[in-house]
Amino acid sequence: MIKKSTSRVKTLAALAAVTGLAAACGNGDTAEETNGNGAADTGEPTELTLATVVDISSYDPAELRFEGEWPQLWMPVYDTLLKWETDGSVSENLATSWEYNEDNTVLSIELRDDVTFIDGEPFNAEAVQANIEHFLDGTGVNRFRANAIESVEVTGDYSVDIILNEPDPTLLNDLGSSVGAMASPAALDDPSIDLEPVGSGPYTLNSEETVRGDQYVFERKEDYWDPESWAYDRIVIRVMSDLQARMNALSSGQVQGGRIDIPLIEQAEGAELTVHPNRVDWFGLAILDREGEVVPALAELEVRQAINIAFDRAGMLESIEQGQGVVSSQIIGQSSPAYDESLDEYYEYDLDQAQALMEEAGYADGFTVPMMDYDRYSPYQPYVEQAFAELNIEIDWVPVPTDDGPEEQLTGDYPILIMGQQAPESAWDGLNFAYEDSFNVFEVYDDELTEYMEAARATDGDEQVEAFRAANEWLVENAWFSVWYHRDLVYATADDVEVDIQPGHAGPQIRNYRPAE
């Protein structure tokens, strides 16, 4: 955590940074004046006001999203079966205990028996069954996360079995997010649930004060079963897609937390905000044509390794991200159990060795590779061009319109992609990117990697972690990617709140906030 500093000079520097002028006047001590968060020990109602980049599309549980800051908008009103902890594990919530059968294809869950939805319907096994079946019938962005679920069987008033068609290493994590979000069964088929959530969460949505697309207001529910986990009486989430507007709202004390960008860190510190870097994404190359279907040279391990050591990762991190992140060679992030610190610097920048490897592979004269000229990654293109030029690799840049980029990446026309991808807490999610995921565009399966991934799928605990780590190491050694670094996302908070950052997520969960002591 980078601690704030108070400085009139820094405030002025922020002004100059925005204006391009080095002159202004004033003081920077306004944050305390307008923050609306009362002190808990005085008995006054406490309020937390946050800014989010995203907006919620629907309160239908099948449409909920768990990435980024989305959970801030729905977790106040929907309880989940399990809950995420900040160390990457999951713990009990509506589910009090859970257990897999021997081959990890049946998950038996025991449920709380003292929970009621806001429409008066009881939470029980039938509610879980109805919710998961509703999720399976839906077409939300996270529907794929329930692909392994075949059915849900009610085994008692407050116990269910989730039957899987194959082991799913991410299931427990998913039951702590949208797959496990529980709404009243009576409301699931009512279209009004799009706008009016009917959950059992710690808050209710204040519809009168909520303005979709602008702000969401949540009021604490008096009879919630776990009030201690939620520190505030009232939550206000303001939707601010504009970065400068978020920064202005944070600086003036209108909101107490929000995402900012790396270039604004100094300005945030000058405004007495606490800056929390959070390593969420990795950046680098996905070498997809691992068997050389389009570019034969990429089938050679030496060529892929040469590409890896041709990048000055530290220099790129410094010049592109102002040093906010960590140099790495792996797609797995620090919050994942598969993370291996020793792999971060597995590939060190060495042009001579890179050229030698190209020569060893018989490609000293290089080759040509088609790549997407795509504005999302345009800041990285010159670095790729420069590094590839050192290896005599010529890039045939193919212009791709912004809107077409996501689809175009999966066409198989591009043997190498520049990528910025989330490095999730879930090791399976992270590693599956190279396995069964749609980004294994050329459908390359290696026996050894398959062995590790299937072992991870079929096991749990230490055995599973060992398999994940073996798969991660294999991916790095075989250079299926050329990761440059893991970049920080930056979250800023006012000095009257404390927050635990949620690894792998752009925004912390609401339950992670509390008034500063």
Partner: protein
């Protein structure tokens, strides 16, 4: 006069219809990307088809258009693909915010430009004239988002007199509303002050005309000449300028709404356009055209009142 109003109103309705048809064809001719973004990159072809059908986008485009117009005539513009909210409700919620900005801006701009323009014209060639002309030109040359940022930094962060972001409804809190719109309106008006020079030019032209010399030679007081004759005759180009400016301000308010996080039509239009929210985009376009047609009608009537010859054109 009634014939004149009916003629203008009819042309306005035709314009709304034409713009709606063209926009519909553009927006709804390619909806696969928005459907894909709603179901995610990992959705199967079946799930993609299921969502497409649920949204009614599997029907022929012409059929979709007929249905949209049939519903729109009853006030049903559909629901947002991104927030599930009824489009009519979204527009009703957001229109007052943008209208607050635009109307306040045009009123303040009209007053300031009239006062400063008149003052500068009366003192043609003097120091005050030059200061007003140069000052307003400089302010107009600065980007509006920069002006907005400066206002926020100085008047919301350094000296917290106004909120940095957000909007307060006029019905709920008049003072809150006034403080919320002050900085955005100031940013818009400062960026449009070039109007002052134009007003000044129009008044100066009148002041230099023969009939003014004649009136003065008859011994009419300067004040009477100015207020009774010059301003009345210079009002017509001033009204024309403002009518053009109101459209410019309406379209340019997108930037101001973003800087001040105001959930107005501009922000809505930007989000809908960048993310492909067809129903909202249609609603925004129709609402915008209606407002603009209405504004032009008002200004045309004002012109006709100021200059009866205009009714014939």
């Amino acid at each position: 006069m009634i014939t004149y109003i009916l003629r203008r109103a009819a042309s306005g309705v035709l314009l709304i219809l034409a713009v709606s048809v063209v926009t519909f064809l553009i927006v709804f001719s390619d909806t696969q990307r928005i459907v894909r973004s709603l179901v995610g990159e990992r959705a199967t072809a079946e799930q993609l088809a299921q969502r497409t059908a649920e949204m009614g986008l599997d029907r022929p485009l012409f059929q979709q258009m007929i249905d949209w117009f049939a519903n729109a005539f009853t006030g049903d513009f559909g629901a947002s693909w991104l927030t599930s909210e009824p489009v009519a409700q979204v527009i009703i919620n957001r229109l007052p915010i943008t209208l607050s900005l635009v109307i306040c801006s045009i009123v303040v701009l009209a007053l300031i430009s009239a006062v400063l323009g008149t003052f500068a014209a009366v003192r043609q060639g003097g120091a005050a004239d030059r200061i007003i002309q140069i000052g307003t030109e400089i302010l107009s040359a600065l980007p509006k988002f920069w002006l907005a940022l400066m206002l926020v930094i100085v008047f919301a962060i350094q000296f917290p007199l106004f909120p940095a972001t957000g909007y307060v409804s006029l019905q709920n809190d008049v003072i809150g509303w006034a403080t919320a719109v002050t900085l955005p309106v100031a940013a818009v008006v400062m960026g449009e002050l070039r109007v002052t020079s134009m007003v000044r030019g129009a008044i100066a032209d009148e002041l230099n005309k023969d009939y003014i010399r004649t009136l003065r030679s008859r011994g009419l007081p300067s004040r009477e000449v100015l207020f009774k004759h010059v301003l009345r005759n210079a009002a017509e180009p001033w009204v024309s300028l403002l009518s053009m400016k109101i459209v410019g301000i309406w379209t340019g308010v997108v930037v101001i709404e973003a800087v001040f996080a105001l959930p107005g039509i501009g922000t809505l239009a930007t989000n809908a356009a960048t993310r492909g929210d067809g129903p909202v985009l249609m609603g925004v376009v129709v609402a915008t055209v209606i407002v603009i047609v209405f504004v032009y009608l008002i200004f045309d009537l004002l012109q006709a009142w100021l200059n009866p010859k205009a009714r014939l054109t």
